[in-house]
Amino acid sequence: MSIKTFCIISLLSLALAVYAADKYADYPVHPAASYAITTGNSGLTIGLEPLEDLKDQKTYFDTELSTKGFIPVFLVMENKSKDESFIFDKSAVTYGPVDSSAATPNLHSKIRDNTALGVLASLDTITAFVAMAKVNHASHIQANILKKELQSTTLSPAASAHGFFYVPVPKSGPREKIRLRIPVTRTGSQGSESLALDLIF
């Protein structure tokens, strides 16, 4: 590699590193009941929208997650009750094929490792400097994925929460319909009760 080429690649890498950060658009939030896929129980409404379009994934995550084996699923949860709260524990969420009773725990933490794999696997073929810039870019993508993820929370009366789940899907070919099961605990003056809400997409 000539010095000129190296300098040009270095400059491009630097530019990539500098401008990679903080360029991720927020996904628009609408009332839970306005989504095509919704469910509800006891005053809790959940709306769901899978981001199937690769262009949308590129816009909000700067990467095509479906080609890496994940589909981002946007969820909006609204508590419309006046005196009851809902405890949502994201670690209890499961998913599985719609025609099967099998349910797999949500593997939310794996997505960031997998997102980086495409970059890290190719390090041997490029210079370390360019690799650093690519890793830098990947780290910002991973941070954005984390910030956009729906987290465990307590939905107080009239409160809402939103964020993404990252559900594993085949990297290519058509995918099966998926059932997302969201368990919540309702707490209020009448004691507490466990509920499970299913969403199919």
Partner: protein, 223 residues
């Protein structure tokens, strides 16, 4: 000087100027570090909504509970190793647990009328509320240059149980901070600063959310 050299020099100067404009210079003073929340980036907020304004009660006083803050040795020893390959991995570790065990207790002491730090969940008669933190996620961005800012995001999930062991409140708080990556000599110090500032931000957020929680207020005697 050849045209190519001139072009490269000009490009470097423009790039350096843009970097300096985008990112603040650093000093060794911790006060220079700005939590990410203070910067107007679209992703600076947490993934979940804040409670509606009408729903958030200002912290007018301490919650009248005898609370126990459970900081287990395992929690305090939580370290996050930077990710990457041999060629790209940053050295050192993010000692998030150690800093959390230092910062959480002072941040929460004004939230409850009584707060005791314990190393294991206490017996029912020893506390009215048991506060259990868990570090659920940590993510650090990297930066190519020593003076480039990078961000550390720390997610802490709080489980609050009553004396019967029932979960009465579950919440995730996000703390983040930005600081320069640092060079060979300043990297370690900068790594400590960004962890401290991220955890401090998460601790402050924890206190704020607990104080404003209608569920915890409802449990108070007399309500």
């Amino acid at each position: 000087m050849s045209t190519i050299r001139l072009f490269l020099l000009a490009s470097l100067l423009i790039l350096a100027a843009s970097v300096m404009a985008q990112e603040q210079t650093t000093s060794s003073a911790p006060a220079e570090t700005k939590p990410a929340e203070t910067q107007p980036t679209p992703d600076a907020k947490t993934a979940t909504d804040a409670k509606p304004a009408a729903d958030v009660k200002p912290a007018t006083g301490k919650l009248p509970f005898k609370a126990a803050l459970v900081l287990t040795p395992e929690f305090c020893e939580t370290k996050i190793q930077p990710k990457g390959s041999v060629m790209t991995k940053e050295w050192g570790s993010f000692d998030v647990g150690k800093v959390a065990c230092k910062e959480l207790e002072p941040a929460l002491k004004d939230v409850f009328s009584s707060l005791t730090r314990v190393a294991a969940p206490p017996a029912a008669e020893e506390a009215q509320l048991v506060l259990i933190p868990k570090i659920t996620d940590v993510n650090a961005t990297t930066a190519t240059m020593a003076f480039s800012n990078r961000e550390l995001v720390v997610m802490i999930e709080w489980t609050v149980k009553d004396s019967a062991g029932k979960t009465v409140w579950l919440e995730t708080v996000q703390g983040s901070a930005k600081h320069h990556m640092g060079n060979l000599f300043t990297h370690k110090k900068n790594q400590e600063l960004i962890v401290t500032d991220s955890v401090k931000a998460a601790a402050t957020e924890s206190a704020s959310k607990m104080s404003a929680s209608p569920e915890l207020h409802k449990l108070a005697p007399g309500n």
